[in-house]
Symmetry: C2
Subunit: 210 residues, 2 copies
């Protein structure tokens, strides 16, 4: 499956596929925003794109995937790989996020619409975990590559999981703030909390005023 970011569309075939995939995603999102996710059938999407329902399933294995399908993952992955191998993971993570900040700003509206569905539609919300795990696997692999550690190592997995779910919570917060402000900043804040040692001891007691 090639991505939205294709180096150079080689043949007519590839270019057409590309366009079709984008059309499906665009029309689907338009309909979802107009009428809601559950209320939109695959027939309707297919009709809007002027393809058959069968063809829809040639491009996306399920209705959910139209929303889930993400062009950022491979970018994030490759940026992460480019970081110096001796750099601490949390720093790499922050740097890469900053590098991607521009993209996030540019696509703000699209990302926001996607996120709204993501967290708002039960079927999609359920699949969030898979996204978290994808990220976890990616980063665990990176750690394994850099260090002598096993990617399956318990400590590695917990550490990465904690980072990723903190980032996920940052996205949630960003959404709660209706996409106002910087997403990257929120992730950084969340990571700060985690790195500070997740003040589990203090958080139960009343917040110190001021």
């Amino acid at each position: 499956m090639p991505n939205t970011i294709t180096p150079l569309a080689q043949g007519l075939r590839e270019r057409k596929k590309q366009k079709t995939r984008e059309s499906i995603q665009r029309e689907a999102m338009r309909l979802f925003e107009m009428q809601g996710y559950e209320e939109t059938t695959i027939e309707q999407i297919a009709a809007a794109v002027e393809i058959s329902p069968s063809t829809f399933f040639n491009y996306f294995p399920s209705k959910e995937d139209v929303v889930l399908y993400d062009a950022y993952d491979p970018v994030l992955a490759s940026l992460l790989m480019e970081r110096p191998a001796d750099e601490p993971l949390s720093i790499s993570f922050r740097r890469v996020l900053e590098e991607m900040g521009g993209i996030f700003e540019r696509d703000r509206e699209i990302i926001l619409a996607r996120a709204r569905l993501w967290f708002g539609v039960p079927a999609l919300r359920a699949r969030l975990w898979e996204e978290v795990e994808k990220a976890q696997v990616l980063m665990s692999g990176l750690i394994a590559q850099r260090s002598g550690r096993d990617a399956e190592d318990f400590e590695t997995r917990v550490t990465v999981m904690v980072m990723v779910s903190a980032a996920m919570e940052a996205m949630h917060e960003w959404l709660r703030r209706d996409g106002q402000g910087s997403f990257v900043d929120l992730v950084n804040q969340a990571l700060d909390m985690v790195e500070a040692g997740a003040r589990l001891d203090e958080i139960a007691s009343p917040k110190h005023t001021g």
Copy 2:
């Protein structure tokens, strides 16, 4: 929806419902283990319990819920509520887990079977996030109650999310070890890592030999 742990079954009606719900769950799990989750249809489950498919949906909103449905949540919730209000959350969490350790030991085989499905079947794995969020909401609410903080407070949410996802990772690890050893111990280990500040800086560098 009453739970598996019902104080005293009052009428015949309630008792029968109870029994039916348990039968469905038992027969479903038996079939899932025998033939796999996807391969088992609701018709088959209904036939095994000697009810109609319609009735199945009176008890569980979906096939997934048969596996997901959990009697432990309310127990955990009430135990958590009983902890002294000035006790740090992480301690409360650990104590409650220890209190529940006996139950986990007793139901080890059942929990293991459930967990295998949980992490193994894509449809169920996807729904893990909802379980995580349920726990997050529960605990955030508790924090809000105890402290002056808002349950929606970003810091609160991140902290709780991190704890819960660490626990989830512990469950995953427990499953990878085939249910050998103590689940509670693994959760404690995961929490230790989180509290130690999630050594994101160190984990990227090669592990010190020994």
